[in-house]
């Protein structure tokens, strides 16, 4: 028989992998990023849209850009059209 220690176990919550992080982005007039986290964008390699879960109360509407920064760093940023904010994300 197991004796009750009386100590509640901490709640286990599963976390997410590749959670978006907010980013400082200055866009061009057409919405493409010009500066990402204080670094100028050298090249926009790709652009795509993700529209999902529009049938739920938490719809996802994102405009993704894969960009190369002046430093040569490759990064993915997106504009969350629902929240009106910019984020960087890995694994996209």
């Amino acid at each position: 028989m197991v004796s009750d220690t009386g100590i509640p176990r901490p709640a286990r919550s599963a976390g997410r992998v590749n959670e978006p992080r907010s980013a400082l982005v200055e866009p061009e007039f057409d919405g493409t990023p010009r500066i990402v986290n204080r670094q100028a964008v050298a090249l926009v390699r790709e652009e795509w849209h993700v529209v999902e879960r529009w049938w739920t109360e938490e719809p996802v509407r994102r405009r993704y850009f894969e960009v190369v920064l002046e430093s040569g760093q490759n990064t993915v940023v997106f504009r969350d059209e629902e929240r009106g904010a910019w984020f960087t994300q890995r694994g996209a």
Partner: protein
């Protein structure tokens, strides 16, 4: 004496704990998905409107259009019932649960402690709590105790001595007996409407006409056996659960989460190398309901693969997306001898080294620092929905 605790409509009461306002309105426990559309227990307001437990859903809604259907919440019911049984055990009673809302307990050992039978039964009612409207019946035999508890008013205790038992049972309807509806109808067609009427029939005639079920009911109508109460074994209470960041309805995801939970629960030190006899899987569903399935293993085991084979297929029965998955070791058995393998399976040494390494990392960085990545929807277009980080604390 044997006492019987009865809480009529326990599942409905448990489901209404979170919405007490509904208890005063016409409400009934909705039928389980995939079963016949028959109502479960109903509230007093619903009963006053003509709705009865066991009624067809369509008929009930036609009779009482304002009837609210309450989703069954078996997980809450199980938890609340366990809490009640524990409170009784804490008061010194040896309890044999017969199902949610009904339990037998022996009063002999505690009568002197509380100053008599009535005091002991009062103590039992107090332990359960008045909010559940418990009723207690006591008699020398189980069935008489059950009958007494069934006819008692909320909060009342009813004691029936062995001598009074036949006269007490005689006028009660046949619905108190565990008989199939068809059999009961057959008896009523023959003019037998009360327990006393059935008890008066000769043994052989009942056996011939109604078979084994009828003989059993006939035996109960004559008082039943004096079988003593056998207190239950304490549940093991080793629980692991996982809360999802969003509701998950995908079976593959749930199977993976279940696999991770199984790893965690098997690694809990409280298990102490014992084997699992009974294991329960429950889920909190989106929309407020819950779901629970148990598996009792004929051959107790601690093998991941066998436990997974026993419970994982039940995930397909989930009626709605899941917010939280919970795995509980209900009954454990003592360790038994196991045939050791001559050659260790491939990769076993590396796995044990890895486990040891992770143990050291956890020891230095604390609980929750080691996680495993569980791929849940690798096809998703939303990157953060593709995998979850599940804490591993074993």
């Amino acid at each position: 004496m044997i006492a019987c605790l009865s809480i009529p409509g326990f599942e409905l009461r448990a489901s209404l704990r979170a919405r007490p306002r509904l208890a005063l309105e016409p409400a009934a426990l909705a039928p389980l998905e995939g079963t016949e559309p028959l109502l479960g227990p109903v509230t007093a307001a619903a009963e006053a409107a003509g709705v009865k437990p066991g009624m067809r859903l369509g008929e009930a809604l036609a009779m009482c259009p304002s009837l609210t259907l309450v989703e069954p919440d078996p997980e809450t019911a199980e938890r609340e019932w366990e809490a009640i049984v524990r409170r009784l055990e804490d008061s010194g009673f040896s309890v044999e649960p017969a199902g949610p809302g009904c339990a037998y307990f022996e009063t002999r050992g505690v009568e002197r402690l509380y100053g008599g039978l009535e005091q002991a039964l009062k103590r039992a009612l107090e332990a359960v709590g008045s909010s559940w409207d418990p009723r207690v019946g006591a008699a020398e035999r189980r069935f008489a105790a059950l009958a007494a508890a069934t006819v008692a008013r909320p909060g009342q205790l009813l004691v029936v001595s062995d001598e009074q038992s036949p006269t007490f049972l005689a006028p009660h309807p046949l619905t108190l007996l565990p008989l199939e509806t068809g059999r009961r109808q057959e008896l009523q067609d023959l003019g037998v409407r009360t327990i006393g009427g059935l008890a008066a029939l000769p043994d052989a005639s009942v056996a011939e006409r109604l078979g084994a079920d009828g003989r059993r009911a006939h035996g109960l109508a004559r008082g039943g056996s004096k079988r003593r109460v056998r207190g239950r074994r304490q549940p093991a209470e080793i629980v692991e659960f996982l809360t999802f960041p969003e509701a998950v309805g995908n079976e593959l995801t749930l199977r993976r989460a279940f696999g991770a939970l199984l790893d965690q629960v098997l690694a809990r030190p409280e298990r102490g190398g014992r084997f699992i006899r009974k294991i329960a899987l429950s889920a909190r569903l989106v929309g407020g309901g819950s779901w629970r399935r148990t598996a009792t293993l004929r051959d107790p085991t601690a093998e991941h693969a066998r436990l997974k084979a026993a419970l994982a297929p039940k995930l397909a029965e989930l009626p709605a997306p899941v917010l939280e998955l919970r795995l509980e070791l209900v009954d454990l058995t003592e360790s038994r001898g196991m045939q050791l393998e001559l050659v260790r399976p491939e990769g076993a040494v590396i796995r044990s080294h890895l486990r040891e390494g992770l143990k050291q990392v956890r020891a230095s960085t604390g609980s929750g620092s080691v996680c495993s990545v569980v791929e849940v929807s690798p096809w998703s277009r939303i990157p953060e929905s593709r995998a979850l980080l599940v804490p591993r604390d074993e």
